[in-house]
Amino acid sequence: MKHNSENWLLKVEGLTKIYGTANANSIEKTGPLFDSNICPETNAIVACADINFELFPGEVLGIVGESGSGKSTIVKMLYFDMEHADGTVLFNKAPYIGKNILKESNQSKRAIRNHLMGMVYQNPRDGLNFKFTSGGNIAEKLIMAGNYHVGTIRDKATNLLEKTEVPVLRLDDLPAHFSGGMQQRVQISKAIANHPPLLFLDEVTTGLDVSVQAKVLDLIRELQQELGIAMIVVSHDLSVIRMLTDRTLVMKNGRIVEQGLTDQILQDPQHPYTQLLVSSIL
């Protein structure tokens, strides 16, 4: 898809999250230049600050960085898992066009989450209710979007499990009895149940063995090509970023230090931290 600066899906401006008491210098005196995200004056933790980017429909954006660099924080704020974020997030979908979705009511936020977003967490326990069957977990998302017909719910859940290569016979089994890879697939089924235009993937392959990792990544890439979902992929693993994403943000100490086309960043890193990151690939 051809992107111009007008047809973005998501526009993030000045997204900031600070824990503790900040003062006027908290943002100035933290960041990669100081190699710290703790304010030396007030000890406030600047989880991320001044995050600006745009995401286009169908685009896959990677966020890469070391532990504690604030990459998960961004995704959690965008999915409203984390409250009280500063900044502006514009979502170019009716009826939210032109509105800062961070300032919407809880009800609207839930509607956005249910209809327009999907999230796949690193730990399936965060995304799935282990007391419900895998079908029930998918049903939850469908019910939230106003689907109250058990037959339809089961048909849709079956289709989704087929699509994500989970044996359909396990529809009425608890995800607690599944392998890690299968749990991740059920989570992906749930996340895409309502055909959201935007999907967040937070370290989805961390903790899976290499062959399962490859299968899950294949699945995500296939779904992306088939459904044209825009994705934000958070990972510390550059091979995941290389495989999935078109464009990448590199983060350090709560700031974006470099952004650009994924290939460009991996071939010709500019920022010293990115250079270090690229040269550290085993």
Binding site: R110, F132, T133, G136, E140, Y148, V150, D172
Partner: protein
């Protein structure tokens, strides 16, 4: 200010002091104004333990007047221990007339049943509620359930119904089937059987619910829509006794109890003792009417 005659009688009319009664009445008005919404209230100490019907008793004592006629049932029976003791207590504390006759009573306190006989607009139905929170089975934190009610976020409740259907082929809630009141709040109708749920819908009487241990009041005002939660293809249904007649009256269209005699034989008898007595005396009490009962008629 201490009045001279304060200790002339041992207790005030209806036991509870006037300020607390006023507080309970105010909360009841709020509950009626927001159908199905749980209003926190003081739940003062009573001479019976919380969990034994104090919620219902608070409501009854707060609204009862000298001219009221009081009836109390426990699981449909006027004669069970809980009903007898609370009836004696209310009578001792107020001196009001008590009755077993559903039609004659102005206040009917109940545990786990609505009377078979239809209620009229002069009656107030008071429920003793053990668990006022319908979402408790899916969410154990009170602050979460309150937020879920506030935002009408009921997906978890629906998923639990879906799960029951998937695992057992039916929604396995015999009593306390969750209902949506006035198109907004999901409410626990105290553990009344499914049989009674349709009789809450558009009822002429006022229905007041008191949960003493949990300190919550809620209400269904007269002529209010009360719908059991059901999927488009998995419908709510009431208990089906498959045309078994009551062994004392031969009546087929009432909620039945199973009785086992010493010789091991099983009998079915109408659960509502006053309704049973009336039928046995060849009277013709008028029953609630609802589509679910009519449907049973077709099948019989």
């Amino acid at each position: 200010m201490i009045e001279e005659n304060k200790f002339a009688t041992h207790y005030r009319f209806a036991f509870i002091d006037e300020a607390t009664k006023r507080e309970i009445r105010r909360k009841l008005l709020k509950a009626i104004a927001i159908p199905g919404y749980q209003v926190p209230y003081s739940s003062p100490e009573m001479p019976i333990a919380r969990g034994w019907g104090t919620g219902g008793l608070h409501v009854t004592l707060a609204i009862i007047g000298p001219k009221d006629i009081f009836k109390i049932i426990d699981q449909g029976s006027d004669a069970s221990v809980n009903a007898c003791n609370l009836r004696n207590f209310v009578h001792t504390m107020t001196g009001v007339e008590t009755t077993l006759d559903t039609n004659k009573a102005t206040i009917i306190q109940t545990r786990h049943r609505i009377t078979e006989e239809v209620l009229n607009k002069n009656q107030i139905f008071v429920y003793q509620v053990p668990q006022p929170e319908p979402l408790r089975s899916v969410e154990r934190y009170e602050n979460k359930t309150r937020q879920m009610h506030g935002e009408a976020d009921y997906a978890k409740m629906w998923v639990s119904l879906y799960e029951q259907y998937v695992r057992h082929g039916d929604i396995m809630l015999g009593a306390g089937y969750p209902v949506k009141v006035n198109g907004r709040y999901i409410m626990a109708p105290s553990p009344i059987p499914r049989w009674d749920i349709p009789n809450l819908n558009n009822s002429e009487a006022i229905h007041l619910f008191g949960a003493g241990r949990e300190k919550r009041l809620y209400a269904v005002p007269p002529y209010t829509k009360v719908e059991p939660l059901e999927f488009e293809d998995v419908k709510f249904h009431i208990e089906d006794f498959k045309g078994i007649p009551c062994f004392r009256t031969g009546y087929k269209k009432a909620f039945l109890d199973e009785l086992y005699y010493d010789d091991g034989s099983k009998h079915y008898v109408i659960n509502d003792s006053n309704f049973l007595d009336k039928l046995a005396n060849k009277e013709t009490p008028i029953q609630h009417e609802n589509a679910y009962l009519n449907k049973l008629d077709h099948e019989a």
